[in-house]
Amino acid sequence: MTAADRRPAGAVSPAGPGPPASRLARLTLVTLERSRPLIAPAAGVAVAVILVLLLQGNGFVSTLIEDALVYAIAAMALDFMAGYAGMISLAQAGFLGVGAYGVAIAENHFFSPWVAVGIALGVVLVAGLALGIVAVRTKGVSFVIITLALGQVLYGLAFQWTGLSEGDNGITLASLPSVGPIDLNDPLTLKMTVLVVFAVTALVLLLLVHSPFGLSLRGVRSNEARLTALGYRTGLHRYLAWVIAVFFAGVAGVLYIFVNSLISPTTMAFSADGFLVVMVVLGGLGSIWGPALGALVIVLFQQELSTYVSRWQTVMGLTLIAVVVLSPGGFWGLVRAAGRRRDALIARLRARQDGGAAPPGGAGQAAGPPLALEPAQPGTDPRQTP
């Protein structure tokens, strides 16, 4: 960075060569440059608002955020698999259901609540490990089809195996676990627990994404043949990604039954599997935070606005189509694009102010790199040639 770059906007000599910088342009530049350090605090404020609404807000908003956080866990985990390894699964709600049913059924068979949670997560893990052997044999579109089928097997069991699942009526949970001062039967403690589990999930997934494992997953998505040639065991990578995603779906399921006290087959139906995919795609494949936002939006519509907007599923379907057609990166993709555009604008304005010091075209070209860490737009994988 040269001294000229760092010179404050006001110090530019109007007599310099090149086009004179207008007052507006200078103002824009100053605003943009000063806005950058504000992004982190703004995000912090948003998180704080959500926290306050969750813990202090009235029943309506608080319940909404609680539900959204539960679904966000499953959605972020799905994004880990879909956005980074290219494996879009239509079975995620099914595994959420397995987690929830696991707790409910185990508790109904006289296990203590904590043991029931352990059993539920164990069952989810075993189901994920077993079904993963089938699912991971396929890729791309075939993987979606297979997971759709597997998700429907799980749904079918919940719906038809009435001896275990009580069929269409679902199972209600009698009491929630408690240990020492942490009693999940207390609504506030439960909300805190949901929040902590959400935060831990996000942290774990982000660490995984940025770990060598996460990077090689992206490699598997963009060019599996090359990674195989480099000696990576790509099948094992995909299998691990699947197991991780399934496990967190089960975690979300455990929280789901804690929050709702009821699990019924509807939670695992095809449309519910689709909802999770919609959350991820609307939020932005391959962004972790985007799907959390997507979960908030979808839960808001599904559970709260559905009473006011009767045709909200039409709205959601059309929105999904619009996002796929116009902005495959989803909401997060728009944010990233806006960030890149802003950087380009800053560079252009700076170049114009500095006049002849830098050729206008060159600076604009150099703009993007800081935010261009991501590979090519997720979700728009080029058509494979047969």
Binding site: Q160, W161, F270, V277, Q384
Partner: protein, 288 residues
């Protein structure tokens, strides 16, 4: 024994409806690599439209033709708009058709409501008769559906094996690029196959509406059957669709009759076995 024969006939009828849906699905996938998740929704929409036409005109066959043609028009429009816009990515097409499911289902719910509807067959088709062998009393309508699907299968077989269009479609399934390079209007063939698939789905919707009923969720059930068929039979294989439909139709029917608690799960035994043993499907040629 009598019950077993009746269940087998039921399974074959179901296989007939499943075949009508899955043959279109598999051809569309085979030649265009488009995974149309809304195929089941097209089936249900066709059934509902047929129901309304039959209710207002009292003519079953008019309803059948209207449903098939309106869904063909819908398929044509869908292929020319959404599918064309998304030509760049298989996954984008899949996701867009997932969105379409929600739209179609919601609109259908708004128009036809949430209560299950059944289409009544006219005249003699609505009655039952005693079968010559074993003396089972069996609905004529189911025999009719079985017959119609066999006729459609024969017609499709003729189209695919004995006509120029069929040769183009089969060649397209094997090697799309080469067919285009030979100067064939691949674009037109794609539109044709997509339209044909939607036409068959709408047609099947009316037939299926008589024996299976029209209800919220019938679309995902039928989509699931079609997907199971293409996994078992092999994506893009017409003969595989016939074989897969027979297998899935019978398995679903026996499953529902004899293992009610696991009817859905029984369906996936052939699917999982095929995936583990022959991932490209029984009659599939290339890796899916």
């Amino acid at each position: 024994m009598q019950e077993f024969i009746a269940q087998t006939l039921n399974g074959l009828t179901l296989a007939g409806v499943i075949f009508l849906v899955s043959s279109g699905f598999t051809l569309v996938f085979g030649i265009m690599r488009v995974t149309n998740l809304a195929h089941g929704a097209v089936y249900l929409l066709g059934g509902y439209i047929g129901y309304s036409v039959i209710a207002s005109t009292n003519s079953f066959f008019l309803g059948l033709v209207t449903a098939a043609l309106s869904m063909a028009a819908f398929g044509f429009l869908l292929e020319r708009t959404l599918i064309t816009w998304l030509r760049r990515s298989e996954m984008a097409e899949l996701l867009a058709t997932l969105g379409l499911i929600y739209v179609i289902d919601d609109v259908a719910l708004a128009i036809w409501g949430g209560n299950p509807l059944t289409i009544n067959l006219p005249g003699i088709l609505g009655q039952s008769s005693t079968l010559p062998v074993s003396g089972i009393v069996y609905p004529n309508g189911r025999i009719f559906i079985l017959g119609v699907s066999i006729v459609v299968a024969a017609a499709l077989y003729y189209l695919l094996r004995r006509t120029r269009v069929g040769a183009i479609i089969r060649a397209g399934v094997d090697d799309r690029e080469m067919v285009g390079a030979l100067g064939v209007n691949v674009r037109l063939a794609w539109t044709l196959v997509f339209t044909l698939g939607a036409l068959l789905a709408g047609f099947a919707g009316v037939l299926g509406g008589t024996v299976l009923g029209l209800y919220t969720g019938a679309d995902s059930d039928m989509l699931l059957f079609a997907l199971a068929v293409v996994i078992v039979g092999g994506l893009g294989s017409f003969e595989g669709a016939i074989l897969g439909s027979l297998l899935i139709g019978l398995v679903v029917d026996y499953g529902t009759a004899y293992f009610a608690a696991f009817a859905y799960s029984v369906l996936f035994i052939p699917v999982i076995v095929v995936l583990l043993v022959k991932p490209q499907g029984l009659l599939g040629r290339q890796g899916a």
